[in-house]
Assembly symmetry: C4
Homo-oligomer: 125 residues x 4
């Protein structure tokens, strides 16, 4: 059942945490998420570097990632070494020591109806 | 008219079945879908393995897939060997014995207006 | 200024024309669109084959495509050799004699607020 | 921390600037955005060429792009050599002298609830 699929480096050129919005729960609050799948048989560490328009990158943010598991990490929750500013353009590079698969999703609930977007990230070679 | 296009292994790192929402019909109820195209001339079997954050994977879920056909499978409907829990992060790997093409779509109708997202899945080599 | 970028074969595994919806103009009526860019210096013909769940494919639908031009074709408008049924799952393969780039977009206005989704199609080799 | 990831040529087959919509601020006004990440260590220039259905391409539009930075450029803001017409289908090719990563996002607020879509652009070889 365990697969080796993916790449060890991924990029997401779009990033933006909207204001909290109209959501009445964590699931419906505006958020920007990086979804990671480690379908292989080896545990790894995921490292996220965040790029901005007008300053040097932040991070890397480090997360343990077990074999045969998925993790959906919200940029809203990043805190160490620093929080990601709200309503600010950013981009990110995601790295691991084994192949992973990365997808980017945003839920925006600033207006009375939520909006969703999602795209596969760009795999490095 | 029949083409061989695609890959035999695909991954979708994002998965989440929202609560049923405001939809008044099956088409407008929140759902998470994997759309599969077998454009070639050979029938095949599609196998979906579902990955979670904190337990071993479920599946594989098995589906027959005819030549020159498309199937849009809702994760909501998966039942054997087990149902997919609602409001839970998951990811999936899709495999077949012949090249297929896989796309991921979600319709979310938790709030009074629906939201849509879609992305091509990630093809393995 | 003219570029050769793209592939001669593309697939879109997701296709669905929602009911017309709440839109009050053509731009706001629910539609399923295939966006094609021919950035090169040669005119070509685009051929679209449409796949279904339970019958043989329809098409090919043929469209002339000039050099250095884009065409955004609505599946709603396909008529020859046959119209695409509404509220029915389909998929498509897009071919040309020169490299093109293909993207898939849906606007859904069945509920009082529109929803959008878009993804790059899958390029054949 | 600096990575070389991406391609020097990218295409986006879908482009459309909706009417301004219901947004009450720049962040909530309908817009079409190309998000660019230059994760490498070299400054570059980004050139965007815009393709239409029925006329020769516009541009290139030129933007300086520093090393280890992201830029989110709105097609709404392009002015030199000419503005992009509203409510008109277009497509674009994005080039740089070093590898970059490109993603395409639209926020549509024509109806009382905004809609979002996003996809990775198509990388040239």
């Amino acid at each position: 059942m365990a697969k080796t699929i993916g790449s060890t480096t991924w990029a997401i050129a779009e990033g933006y945490i909207p204001s909290p919005g109209t959501g009445t729960s964590r699931a419906l609050t505006s958020h920007e998420t990086v979804c990671i799948l480690n379908a292989g048989n080896s545990d790894t560490e995921v490292r996220i570097t965040v790029y901005f328009a007008d300053r040097e990158p932040a991070g890397p943010y480090r997360f343990p990632m077990k074999a045969r598991r998925t993790r959906h990490i919200q940029f809203n929750d990043l805190a160490d070494p620093e929080a990601i500013p709200r309503e600010t353009d950013f981009a990110s590079v995601i790295e691991a020591d084994v192949p992973i698969v990365v997808q980017h999703t945003r839920l925006d609930s600033r207006q009375p109806a939520l909006a969703l977007m999602s795209t596969i990230a760009f795999p490095g070679s």
